[in-house]
Symmetry: C2
Subunit: 258 residues, 2 copies
Amino acid sequence: MTQIKIIKIGGNIIDSTMELEQFLLDFALIDGPKILVHGGGAMASQMAKSMGVEPQMHQGRRITDAETLKLVTMVYAGWINKSIVAKLQQKGVDALGLSGADANTVPAVMRSKEPIDFGYVGDVDPEKINVRLILNLISRGIVPVFCAITHDENGTLLNTNADTMASSIAIALSKEYSTSLIYCLEKKGVLNDVNNPDSVIPLINSRNYQILKNSGVVKDGMIPKLDNAFNAIDNGVYQVCIKHASNLSNDFGTILKK
Amino acid sequence: MTQIKIIKIGGNIIDSTMELEQFLLDFALIDGPKILVHGGGAMASQMAKSMGVEPQMHQGRRITDAETLKLVTMVYAGWINKSIVAKLQQKGVDALGLSGADANTVPAVMRSKEPIDFGYVGDVDPEKINVRLILNLISRGIVPVFCAITHDENGTLLNTNADTMASSIAIALSKEYSTSLIYCLEKKGVLNDVNNPDSVIPLINSRNYQILKNSGVVKDGMIPKLDNAFNAIDNGVYQVCIKHASNLSNDFGTILKK
């Protein structure tokens, strides 16, 4: 089975011109089929602030109202996506930027308004991803670059979590490829000791993941990330790597496997 | 030879939710291969104002500085492009939004800084357009939706005139298709009498175009539009139509032919 890598970067890399440039250089050197999924970064919040758009929150969680949807679509699908595409083209990568609306690659469903109305937020069903089109682009040597904006197939754009966007695409493609999903974080991997940035756990399987959770080694924001990763593995993804973007071209990081 | 229609809409339609919706319904009904090219509209200027970005002008002409480039990329390639794509998908059109950077579809060259430095503005050479990719997408039933953002193949995005973006794509495709280029304007066509909106000249060829220019019937902003149209015709485009968007599905308007 041919291998494919789906690599997700977040705001910490996007917000640093130097780190993004180095990451894109490393990304360009990866052989074989690959897909980039990018998150947001600070620009949307900065713009909202300078335009006087107040962030809408509910119990500490962000609500995507109509104004925020416009802003994130502009920043994610517009500036960030096209900047990355132009920079990859410069590096010899035949990048093509996509939102989930484009060629209906990633349709989504607006999240239920109960118990909390998150506004224009979409959840993706990997079964509905337009794998045929993505495969066709890849077969032509094109590297899809996805932002995490989707649509409801009814004319409405939706803001989507970039981690689940990446894992949904990875799950969808794992029928055709041996799929590695790589999350680039600020940390070097899953840490044994949060105070020691080098205490990276090299390998976690679903059994010792339960032990790490129960013992409190894995906690807080890492839990939804790893739950999402193991969900991808349970649904056909070969492996998930969690690493720092600067280690893209080496083996340093945490590998999650069945 | 198979026919293709390249249709360009400008800000006057984009800024009106009702007109845009009706235009997209009419666009959806067009049979056969088609491409949509869209301009900007008022949103970028409104955003610039609300963010305190001053428009940079030189002798009455707009300069695209770094801040303006970010804004127009966000608005054109982000919100407008993806909104149109989502609305076309809803109407059963398999739309895919593209900037010129995506898959290097429309590379451009930054305009010379002499005599005037327009900043991040790009001019397109139709010979360099990635016709193969556009043809492949069309052969799969996909409808490309282009914003007028291009790149210099060196990592820099460029703001491009949407009229020439449309005519360049039309010229590039006319080796493979019998190409009709349709400009949707606020007017119903080229008028014999600017005070009579219904005095549409049905047909202009390059010979009577000279007469209309010399007599002053065609003047001001219409001259660069028609020069650009006749340049497209001289370079292989079968015909150019100038019409109001509401007449997309009928024959009302001005046809320009060799």
